[in-house]
């Protein structure tokens, strides 16, 4: 784990303004501009963390073709994160760029959903996560292309082509593993079972996003759930496996309540720029 940054007087004032009880909750974001920054960071963190996870397959994938395939997805996601976090830094106006936000921020300040930070597991588990997340992200970015904030709409328009490929590729693998050998089928079912508990969080709205959605800036994610469920059901039907049943959803990533896995991921991801802050390549 990287060490915590020095607490600045501004941070103390911000913490004092926080109106709710939980000590680890993020301070309430009120100003409109802060809300857009927060939204960009949420979207950017999802892409960044999943991109980092996928790149962990480098050197470990079962075959060269799959390795390049997963690395390509990861690089697409890191590209999206660069655009989104750069935009967040620009709107925020505190002199941070995307790199500063990605590499010089501690775990409690990350706003990604819990799904993307989970360990890769085996190949089927990685595919399960990709299938669920990319299906969600495709619907999200398709809707975001109609955002009244032009730069968000532009980023979404570029990303939507990439994500359509991710969603199709992952769905094809779900079908092949699910309707494959006994072992691949079992692993595919286990992978989906593991990740299903993180699905509800993807579509969870809070006052920040709802206010932005009401103004046509953000996407009303709750409205995407029906289409998502239909796509998942169709692919799983083709894969001859049934929908996972998991009783209790886990949420909290958007408030900074992360699983232990994120800290370990950040330790690897942030080590170099934190140890050598002036390094460039």
């Amino acid at each position: 784990m990287p060490s915590l940054p020095t607490i600045q007087p501004g941070d103390v004032a911000e913490a004092d303004r926080a109106s709710h009880a939980g000590a680890f909750d993020a301070p309430a974001v009120e100003a409109h501009r802060d809300a857009i920054v927060e939204y960009c960071i949420r979207l950017g963190d999802d892409s960044l963390i999943l991109g980092q996870r996928l790149c962990e397959w480098c050197g470990h994938a079962p075959v060269l073709e799959v390795e390049l395939s997963l690395a390509n997805l990861g690089l697409d996601l890191i590209g999206q994160a660069t655009f989104l976090l750069d935009l967040a830094g620009e709107l925020e106006g505190r002199g941070r760029d995307g790199d500063a936000i990605a590499f010089h921020r501690d775990v409690l300040a990350f706003r990604n959903c819990l799904m993307v930070e989970q360990p890769n597991g085996d190949f089927a588990q990685t595919i399960a996560r990709q299938f669920l997340f990319s299906t969600y992200q495709l619907a999200l970015f398709e809707a975001l292309t109609r955002s009244v904030e032009p730069r968000l709409a532009e980023i979404a328009a570029k990303a939507v082509k990439e994500v359509r490929y991710h969603a199709e590729l992952a769905a094809q693998w779900v079908v092949r593993l699910g309707d494959g050998t006994d072992e691949s089928r079992e692993r595919m079912i286990d992978g989906l079972d593991w990740f299903w508990r993180f699905v509800d969080e993807l579509f969870q709205m809070d006052p920040i996003e709802q206010a932005l959605a009401d103004r046509g800036i953000a996407v009303d994610k709750a409205a995407l759930r029906g289409g998502f469920d239909a796509t998942i059901a169709k692919v799983l039907d083709e894969a001859t496996i049934s929908l996972p049943v998991y009783p209790r959803a886990v949420v909290g990533g958007r408030k900074g309540h992360h699983s232990e896995h994120l800290g370990h991921l950040l330790a690897v991801m942030q080590y170099l720029p934190r140890t050598y802050p002036d390094a460039s390549w």
Partner: protein, 94 residues
């Protein structure tokens, strides 16, 4: 794992108007994934606008031992080359 997957030959059309050209091969369980693997392995740097994959075992090849009878007869027929024409500069791919 790769031992179970058949080999596919990959052909890429670099631009509209050119023919597909052989670039290499990939392993994949079926033709759909072979196209995706070919995309991921061979078109990362905008190498093409179209992909073909063909199962390697579906390609019939000439026998190297027959190369004499197959190719030697063309050696002394220089008049088959269209080298006696002026080709306009605007024609790029001849």
């Amino acid at each position: 794992m790769s031992h179970d997957w058949p080999l596919w030959e990959v052909f890429i059309r670099a631009r509209g108007g050119l023919s597909h050209k052989h670039v290499g091969s990939v392993h994949a369980p079926d033709s759909d994934l072979a196209v995706r693997h070919a995309r991921d392995v061979y078109t990362r740097r905008m190498e093409g606008v179209s992909l073909w994959v063909v199962k390697s075992t579906d390609i019939s090849a000439s026998d190297p031992d027959d190369s004499g009878p197959l190719f030697a007869p063309a050696e002394d027929k220089v008049y088959r080359h269209p080298t006696f024409y002026d080709i306009p500069d605007v024609l790029k791919h001849i």
